[in-house]
């Protein structure tokens, strides 16, 4: 196996983590990773020697994610099917570790995809602002405002979830 493929193989766990944070559902996230790997293979020649495989792959995956989001947006209400919602939102059991963990995963899913991607890129994946802006294809200022708004939104959602939880406890 050539070096490029070996390098890509080594990035799969990181790609899976990023995909999971974007899409939550495990199978859907792995579908996204698979699409990303397939596209990467086709474009192997575009990958310049010396360029970080991680950045290259994250860029490919982000484009796939955004393309799909745009398609869905154009269809608008196609997304209103309850079946889709329940399917897409159901968290696989093995993923549920604790209430706190589930709450933050829920909250992350509830913020806009743009903000989610920016926040995850920096806060979980550890990219610098410059790297993340480059991967997401936005100016650094846009990235920063997405991160700031994303964090604030996440905080509000978590507070709401905590409030609901305490109400439930009081009711018992």
């Amino acid at each position: 196996m050539d070096e490029k493929k070996a390098a890509i193989l080594g990035e799969i766990p990181r790609l899976r983590r990023y995909a999971r944070s974007l899409l939550r559902d495990r199978d859907s996230a792995d579908d996204l990773v698979q699409d990303c790997l397939e596209r990467a293979l086709v474009r192997l020649d575009n990958w310049q020697t010396g360029e970080s495989p991680r950045r290259w792959l994250f860029t490919i995956m982000h484009h796939l994610f955004i393309d799909q989001m745009r398609k869905v947006n154009r269809r608008g209400e196609a997304a209103m099917l309850p079946l889709e919602a329940s399917e897409a939102q159901a968290a696989p059991a093995e993923q549920v570790e604790s209430i706190a963990s589930r709450e933050i995963v829920d909250a992350l899913q509830a913020i806009s995809p743009d903000r989610r991607a920016a926040l995850v890129m920096v806060a979980i994946e550890g990219f610098s602002y410059a790297e993340a802006a480059n991967i997401l294809g936005v100016p650094a200022g846009t990235l920063m405002s997405r991160i700031a708004r994303g964090r604030e939104e996440l905080r509000t959602l978590l507070d709401d979830a905590a409030r609901r939880r305490s109400i439930r406890i009081v009711e018992k």
Binding site: M1, K5, I8, L9, I12, P13, R16, R17, R20, S21, L23, D25, D27, S28, D30, D31, Q34, L37, E38, F65, M69, N73, R75, E77, A78, A79, M80, L81, P82, L83, E84, E87, A88, Q89, A100, S101, R102, E103, I104, V105, D106, A107, Q109, A110, S112, P113, V122, A123, S128, M144, I147, A148, R151, L154, R155, L158, A161, R163, R164, R168
Partner: protein, 264 residues
Amino acid sequence: MSRRDFSERDIHMALDGELPGDERTAYEAWLEANAEMKTKSARYAADRAALRAAFNGVLSEPVPVRLSRVMLGEAPVVRAAASRSRWWLAAAAAAILVIGGAGGYLAGIGRVGLENTAEDQLAEEAIAAHVIYAAEKRHAVEVPASDRDHLQSWLSNQVGLKLVAPDLAAQGFQLVGGRLLPAGQGKAAMLLYEDDKGERISLFVTAESAAKAKGTYGSEEDGPEAVYWLDKGYGCAVVGSLPRERLAAVAKSAYGQLVAGLES
């Protein structure tokens, strides 16, 4: 050492390792002197730790064979069409949030919170009531639309909300009447509407809700679907077997009028 005013923006930069090293000391001093900002910074750091903890497990999961196979150049695993489109569905659900965020009311199919939620219960009760009463010819309602003022004041008193029956004529629906129903620990008002073809929809309103949520819900295939929303102090669902777009339009109109009524 640079002398400049810091702001909330610097909290993010510091947290993300983007604050220039020579500003660090001044930043720390600013944070110490600013309790509100210090709390915010600590909170963001805690949320980030929780985020990392929630997703770190993925790194140690074994890589699914179908993914490593792609790279090992073996014959690709053919995914069924249904499976291939699955992540698209997840994306679709997420997209609703974008539409909602832009000012739409259909903000949240993505539920924030715990399992078996209040909104599930609300939607299920609303659908159950609709299935029973919308099919009734003679006893669909307790108070007919001809007695609209009494209907509104009676249901408002019983449910504990200022209830105004929405005018859905623009969507082709006329009020048939309403009835009182049990809901959870309390009561719910059901308002029944009908169009000129006899198609019925119902509005289900309760005063019981501590949560904020919005979305759609269907209990079974081909059954009626509920568009619901919950806010602090009330929960509403619009139920019907209409094409989605029409149900959404009706729900949007009903929502606007109900909220305006509640807050008037």
